[in-house]
């Protein structure tokens, strides 16, 4: 076995190139905690700009096929990129782009050649941001139960109406990747379809939801998600991906990736900052990290983050070495979610109420522990609750149902 990528001289050169480029193009201010709504928006625009620059180099979606505007890089180069971006506390993309990540992967597998050519380049180049729209008031864990948002064929297009909730973050989106019901009387799993549409179409309105936290992807802890309303929104037929009423098949790819099937390499950022905080914060003259109770808590937390890293590494390896997977995707997701929730208690016990405040004097730097206290809870739900992850695991292990369920396809045309 080999738990590390062995880099060639050429790859090390690439690393140096990436690092130099990032140092030149990532301003430290991009990582600031916004001081106001306007500042938040300005910061967002800076990150989008960075995304476009990364996209132009093929580094925004490094392993995506070059012919559609992706980087076309092999996995080793992609790892180098992820590692280097990680050094700046950023992810790829450096802003919330859920529909871009998951929609593009789905389109790669299930879209027509024309759709790939039309939809993928703007995503891969960072020209558009895309949000995914799945949940409805009546369909959360039960995604197959989507019913409130419908698309009805009308001439050369479709008319969408309905409502989606828990969408995106703040500062709006360019594109929408959504699942709707296209046959209200149809059988379960045979009545859904996916659309990739413009967010600016007439009839689409958004209204922010105020939440305890967002638990979102790297950096976007705006505390806001949107309710999106569709009032007879006309979309072209071309926007339908994977075929009418074939949406559940497409969803298997989408969900496999969302459920952790793709794996992940890289360290746990909360851990790094937590350790540093405990080393730098003294109580009664002694660093927290030198107090036995705190040390014991830190050891438990560290081990869980390490196991999570190892699960992510394994899934990453299985994905890119194209090895068969079964329960590993939802296992990573389940482990990550339950660990995050458990960590809220472990950190609170270790650090005390300082973990709860964003106060610059008495809380942890940039309130990162307070964010963890919220997001450790909130993250348990998006992309499938812990309960749903266990449903998936059990099916793939081959218990609970008469036939063993397979992992969704995550490799597309290349």
């Amino acid at each position: 076995m080999d738990f590390e990528v062995t880099y060639t001289e050429e790859q090390q050169r690439f690393r140096r190139e990436v690092r130099a480029w990032l140092e030149a193009n990532v301003a430290p201010s991009m990582l600031r905690t916004p001081t106001s709504a306007e500042d938040n928006y300005r910061r967002y625009l800076e990150l989008r700009d960075l995304g476009r620059k990364l996209g132009a180099k093929g580094w925004l979606y490094p392993t995506a096929p070059a012919k559609y505007g992706g980087g076309g890089l092999d996995v080793d180069h992609a790892i180098i990129l992820e590692e280097e971006v990680d050094r700046f506390d950023l992810s790829l993309p450096p802003y919330y782009d859920s529909g871009g990540r998951l929609g593009s992967a789905s389109i790669l597998v299930w879209g027509t050649e024309e759709q790939r050519q039309a939809f993928l380049p703007p995503i891969y180049r960072g020209e558009v941001r895309t949000w995914q729209l799945l949940t409805e008031p009546g369909a959360g864990s039960d995604l197959a139960g989507v019913r409130m948002t419908t698309a009805v064929r009308d001439g050369d297009g479709y008319v969408i109406r309905g409502q989606k909730i828990f969408v995106g973050s703040d500062n709006g989106t360019d594109r929408i990747w959504m699942i709707v019901n296209t046959d209200p009387k149809g059988k379960r799993h045979e009545n859904l379809s996916w659309f990739m549409i413009d967010a600016s179409l007439p009839g689409i309105t958004m209204q922010p939801m105020e939440l305890m936290g967002t638990g979102g992807e790297g950096g976007t802890d705006s505390g806001v998600k949107q309710t999106v309303f569709f009032d007879d929104v006309r979309v072209p037929a071309f926007a339908l991906v994977g075929g009418e009423n074939k949406g559940w098949t497409v969803a298997t790819t989408h969900l496999e990736l969302e459920h952790g099937g793709g794996g992940r390499i890289g360290r746990n950022r909360v851990w790094d900052r937590l350790l540093r905080y405990c080393q730098e914060t003294k109580r009664d003259g002694v660093p927290l990290s030198q107090q036995q109770d705190v040390r014991d808590s830190l050891a438990d937390i560290y081990i869980k983050t390490e196991v999570q890293r190892l699960f992510g590494l394994r899934n990453f390896y299985l994905t890119y070495a194209r090895k068969p997977k079964s329960y590993e995707g939802p296992q990573l997701s389940y482990y990550r979610k339950t660990t995050g929730l458990w960590m809220t208690g472990a950190i609170l016990e270790a650090v005390g109420p300082a973990a709860l405040t964003t106060d610059p004097a008495w809380g942890a730097p940039s309130g990162f522990l307070e964010t963890q206290q919220r997001n450790g809870i909130v993250s348990v739900h998006p992309g499938g609750t812990t309960d749903i992850q266990r449903v998936q695991m059990a099916r793939r292990i081959g218990i609970g149902r008469s036939t063993r369920e397979k992992a969704g396809t995550v490799h597309g045309a290349e």
Partner: protein, 373 residues
């Protein structure tokens, strides 16, 4: 043996519950969350008229002379909100501290105002070291012209932004428990209070910048402060636990209702064993907290040695509320994190009270000491 409430306790419960339903439905509780001060004038005045602010005080000091168990019945109802405001800080911990520490003159001067609600107390114990033991108290006043001068910070002080009077624990000697209690006007020059921002409920910073405190503000005798405070804490903590039990109960009821009404995969989600198991975990915590709390109250009210039971109750209740909220979030998934739904108010309160007056580890260790293992 009788594990039911008395008739008068049942009446108090009914009164309090209908008051809460009328005056503080979820939207009111949620609306209060962002206020700098937890005290809502109108509510406070009504509570005073109901006699709730002096519930632990003897009649001679303007209170109703109820038992701790009676007070606990009330606080269980307040906890259901969870109703913010310095009810506990002033009407229980503050009142009991003055009762235990003050001279009779001081009690007569301070306590009637607490019962009427004009005086709002809070007790400032912890400092940046966040320790709840006497060793954690390092704020030492300097003497000047027979009065005290305070410079320093008290941290995570509950409801300080709504207090009129602060009871401040200060270090006045080198012995481990050489602590005294000062009665400080919250509006005195040099005193500033602010609510700490974040995922916690009205835990405040109190800063003292050359604050002059007259010698007469010393509650009772010097160096006896820790002993008095310990007695007050022993009686106050189970009432805080009852507040927590009320919180757990409300979250339990919310969760059961949700499992019965939320339909996914064509059935109420309560049909799924995983969802049931979140509720089972929740109710086990709830009942653990409830019975540990009530046994401690019973011991206190009947004059039995109660120290170990009180420590156990706080440890159990703190852990319970935290994980009850976790379980409820698992039941509710996305719906539970909507601020307007009301669950986040409990979640935030559960995190706050996890540490307030001592976290589970602290209380478990004090329990072991009290049991003389």
């Amino acid at each position: 043996m009788d594990l039911s409430l008395t008739e008068s306790q049942e009446m108090l419960r009914t009164t309090a519950r209908s008051f809460m339903q009328r005056e503080t439905p979820v939207d009111v509780v949620v609306g209060l969350q962002k206020a700098e001060s937890s005290l809502e004038r109108d509510l406070w005045a009504k509570a005073a008229r109901l006699g709730w602010l002096g519930i632990v005080l003897p009649a001679e000091y303007g209170g109703s002379g109820d038992s701790l168990s009676d007070a606990a019945v009330l606080y269980e109802e307040l906890g259901r909100g969870p109703l913010p405001g310095p009810f506990f800080s002033s009407g229980v911990l503050g009142a009991l501290t003055v009762l235990e520490a003050g001279t009779d003159e001081q009690r007569r001067r301070i306590l009637p105002g607490v019962a009427t609600g004009e005086t709002v107390l809070t007790v400032a114990i912890t400092e940046p070291n966040t320790s709840w033991g006497p060793g954690g108290i390092t704020l030492a006043p300097q003497g000047r012209n027979g009065s005290f001068v305070l410079n320093g910070t008290k941290l995570f002080v509950s409801d300080a932004t709504s207090a009129t009077d602060l009871i401040v624990a200060v270090r006045t000697g080198d012995g481990p428990t050489d602590v005294s209690l000062l009665h400080v006007d919250a509006k005195a020059r040099g005193v500033s209070t602010r609510r700490l921002p974040g995922f916690l409920s009205w835990q405040c910073e109190v800063s003292f910048d050359n604050v002059q405190v007259p010698a007469t503000s010393l509650l009772g005798e010097a160096q006896r402060g820790w002993a008095a405070l310990s007695r007050a804490l022993e009686r106050a903590i189970p009432i805080l636990c009852a507040y927590i039990v009320g919180g757990c109960q409300a979250v339990y009821e919310k969760s059961v209702l949700y499992t019965q009404t939320r339909v996914q995969f064509g059935v109420p989600i309560g049909r799924f064993q995983r969802v049931q198991d979140h509720v089972v975990r929740l109710v086990n915590h709830l009942d653990s907290a409830r019975w540990a709390t009530w046994e401690a109250l019973w011991k206190l009210d009947t004059g039995r040695p109660a120290t170990a039971s009180v420590h156990m109750a706080k440890a159990v209740a703190s852990e319970a509320y935290l994980d009850v909220c976790n379980a409820a979030h698992e039941v509710h998934a996305g719906m539970g994190v909507l601020i307007e739904y009301g669950l986040p108010a409990h979640t935030q309160m559960s995190r706050t009270l996890f540490h307030y007056l001592g976290d589970p580890r602290w209380h478990k260790r004090r329990m072991a000491d009290a049991l003389e293992w």
